[in-house]
Symmetry: C2
């Protein structure tokens, strides 16, 4: 888990350090640049909206999407004064702001009170403030990326933003329904998480002056794996680790792969109407039943297979340092050291 | 009032025709281009999100912001194949999408059920769908503008988006409070409406390869006047004209200039706690009292003075055709023929 606040270097989890070392000295430097630029982009002034934006941006996040952009950017982004460096910093800021904006709006729609163990902007400042703050961070994401004048980059971000919204809507359309097949579940994971991972890789490649489908496929695969693992954590991880009670997804009506698999194995779960789960105690009990079927292991296995596919999809001629670093990110996603 | 649907030319109110004629043959042509591009930008595909986006964009709007961008763009945007034409179409689409996105989010926050006499996306599809649709239209606005690769234009739009959010938050901070002075009320009008009018003018000028503070000041002034006049209509206009009951602002806790002026003149209004107004009947009665003080005439007078200031601020060397057309837009705003 990331630390909650502090200087840029504090937010990189210890487990990430070998990744940074593997990928070259410039990587922590560029992450630091992203961190500073993120704060300036979110809060250009000092009014209440700026303070709220700064709080939200500083409150956490593993900066996994910027890290992906930086690693895909490769040696081209190492020169601190080169155009590729400036471009990858803009990319990192844009994807992190977009991610944060969607979290803000998700928390409003789900009435989410806690995220990363802290009160959400919705809990602290209310529905209107959190909605407007999300809008402002969206605008800041696009404005930051626009600084580079690369229309392709903007199209990549706009597409991902659209997919994020589609994912949110698909999840709501499927709410409380156990009549979802695995394909539809995986599509939802792509839209909710894979799409912005993919965009991060595409933007990293564009920053380095490349366009590469292999990195995009890699990033999409590990993004989906990340979502699968998130869905496992919702069933098995203690609140101290996730900052929210077990079974939060079930309480929101979000039926994920562990439940879909478990229903095949446990008739009591198959007969359960998810709408009847209304307390955290009930949710925890259902989580225990899901875990008892082995469904979380099946889901984890699926996530690991996706990661393996993603790593196998990396470009053949890739230098060893980057291959190692991207492999560590990919495995970090499913070991949830990231 | 604009017509509700139909071909692009249907949506131009009859009162606008002299404006178009005054400004040159290309103006209706460019408005038609904006209309088509707006639909493509909002709905690039055919999934449910696209259909909802298309419905929302087609549902109305006087396209006043695109018209401003086109008129400020001037003769430079007349050539259908020139780069200035493409740029002004992008600008028109971007400002209209941004406007529509903020209306969607406002309706969610206010639980607004009717707009322009039709059910809102919130009423029709619910909170989540309307929020996500707003996010998508925001992203589409920036992506469209980014097509031109002009970072200055993106910064103009990002700044206006931020101001729109600030305006919304200021309005909420001031909700139910009659302790608002005129300066603060006018700042709110600038943020809510003037800022995007101003951005429309700035984007029109940038499309033509210019940067001009005079057009920006003009547009900001008539934007604020537009908001003042909107606030008058909320007090005096029959629902058939506005598509919503009189006193909707009061029911939402939004205290506007007519009420602030009326409170100085009618002790009963001064002693009234706005929170006690909870039905449309009560709201209509309070509106009658406000109107009886002459406060709506005072507000209209203020709006006309702003328009006169705006027109006086137009560049000295401006060609007659454009001066006439912009003057007609400005007066149309307060005659509410637009």
């Amino acid at each position: 888990m990331s630390t909650v606040d502090g200087a840029p270097q504090d937010r990189v989890p210890a487990a990430v350090l070998p990744i940074l070392a593997a990928a070259g000295e410039h990587v922590p430097e560029v992450l630091g640049d992203v961190e500073r630029a993120l704060r300036t982009a979110a809060a250009p002034g000092t009014d209440p909206l700026d303070r709220a934006a700064l709080d939200t941006v500083a409150a956490g996040g593993k900066r996994l999407r910027p890290l992906l952009a930086i690693l895909v950017g490769g040696p081209a982004v190492a020169d601190p004064d080169g155009p590729a460096r400036a471009a990858v910093v803009r990319a990192g800021v844009a994807v992190e702001l977009t991610h944060t904006a969607t979290l803000l709006h998700d928390d409003v729609l789900d009435a989410g009170l806690l995220r990363r163990g802290r009160p959400t902007a919705f809990a602290r400042d209310g529905r209107a403030a959190a909605t407007c703050l999300g809008d402002v961070l969206f605008a800041a994401a696009f404005a930051t990326l626009a600084g580079g004048g690369d229309a392709r980059a903007l199209r990549v971000l706009a597409r991902a933003s659209r997919e994020l919204a589609q994912g949110e809507l698909l999840q709501r359309a499927d709410a409380w329904s156990t009549d979802v097949d695995e394909e539809r579940y995986l599509l939802r994971c792509h839209l909710k998480t894979g799409a912005l991972f993919e965009a991060s890789a595409r933007l990293g490649a564009l920053a380095a002056g490349e366009e590469d489908e292999a990195f995009a496929r890699f990033a999409s695969a590990i993004g989906v794996a990340f979502q699968l693992f998130d869905d496992v954590l919702d069933v098995v991880a203690p609140p101290e680790q996730t900052g929210k009670p077990r079974g939060t997804d079930l309480l929101d009506g979000t039926v994920t792969l562990p439940m879909l698999v478990a229903r095949e194995r446990d008739p009591a779960l198959r007969d359960l109407d998810v709408r009847t789960i209304t307390t955290t105690e009930q949710a925890a009990e259902v989580c225990d039943r899901i875990a008892a079927t082995g469904a979380t292991e099946v889901t984890e296995e699926r996530a690991r297979a996706l990661v393996a596919d993603g790593v196998a999809a990396l470009p053949a001629g890739l230098d060893e340092a980057r291959r190692t670093a991207l492999g560590l990110v990919a495995r970090g996603v499913v070991d949830r050291r990231l």
